[in-house]
Homo-oligomer: 196 residues x 2
DNA sequence: GTCTATATCATGATAGAC
DNA sequence: GTCTATCATGATATAGAC
């Protein structure tokens, strides 16, 4: 029962991930030391290396898991219906999902520079897979005559950029509820894709 | 005439700024050492301190100058006309100006975390001053009945986020010219603000 | 699985010669 | 204004005891 040293625990691994995610988002990967992470977890620096081979792998695994969760999150929705309905579902999903994970989102596109080339390529691949979701919805809407954009690829990137912007300013408990924010952005996205 | 040591120069200061801007954008402020900057400039690390009191001041001055240049760039345009015309001028200005300075733009919102609280407050103030430009245009358009958005503040942030997204993908010499990109984004911005 | 201790190296910044 | 040399500190990662 009694531990001979420290406060060992079965959940040290997840705790390391949570602490690292928060610290990387707050100060940046390069500015956070393994000692800092260890201190906030409540272990010594050396103990971290039972859970990750090195700092780089820790960063990569955080980003990879986040992107997998986003892709799985959309898959679970299995949205169907008209392009307009799917667009609404995507906008609400994207905003809601990203606002729930501000740190992971922040890291996923702020720390791309700090990945090794191989890790960068894998993360980039996952990101592109996610972008195909709105791109296909847009194309379906164009084919159905519901949307009118001269360049679907650019329109997709513009929509994603607009939606990502929410994370820079929205804070729970502020002037607007999540649903109101979703409504506002869906309104703008719909109009931006309309025949005008 | 002859220098006794190294290759001293009247333009070492500007060179330091250019090198630092490029390196900070590529690898991040925390990941770039003063020795790296010095090496690329062609001087020893100690020499940098003739031009900046410390690394933090170097970062801050890069961001501050960039934001001043953006504000002056718009002031110089002295755009007038209907809200629709001013909106078009702003969209084109913002995209063009930001695509000309990708490194400075990247730093200006990626390295906010690495500013001291006082420096952060000053940079944040300049950024907010810039945001008032599109916000006033939007409000004028609403008052004139040309635009219809339920929340002007959110709409402003959404438009800026969309425009900022251009910097993540546009590369000169690609599929689209700068003017075509401006046209595409202006089309989407206009429609997103319309009565729909 | 965590600890202590340490190897090895890089960092920001400064001092003083020239 | 730049150099060389250095201080003091902190970094990642590893080794071996328990």
């Amino acid at each position: 029962m009694a531990r001979t040293q420290g406060s060992s625990s079965d959940i040290t691994g997840p705790r390391i991930r949570r602490v690292a995610e928060r610290l990387f988002a707050q100060a940046g990967y390069a500015a956070v030391s393994m000692r800092q992470i260890a201190a906030e977890v409540g272990v010594q620096a050396g103990a971290l290396y039972n859970y990750t081979p090195d700092k780089q792998s820790l960063l990569f695994s955080l980003m990879e898991r986040h992107l997998h969760e986003v892709l799985e999150g959309w898959d679970t929705l299995k949205s169907t219906g008209t392009p307009q309905e799917q667009l609404a579902a995507f906008v609400r999903f994207h905003i809601g999902f990203h606002l729930e994970r501000p740190d992971a989102v922040f890291i996923a596109y702020m720390e791309l520079r700090n990945l090794t080339p191989e890790n960068f390529a894998r993360v980039e691949g996952l990101r592109r897979r996610y972008e195909t979701i709105p791109e296909r919805i847009l194309q379906a809407g164009i084919d159905a005559g519901e949307f009118a954009v001269p360049d679907p690829r650019v329109a997709t990137l513009a929509v994603i950029a607009m939606l990502n912007g929410v994370n820079t300013w929205y804070r729970p408990g502020g002037r607007l509820t999540l649903e109101q924010v979703e409504d506002l952005y869906l309104d703008m996205v719909r109009k931006s894709l309309s025949a005008g």
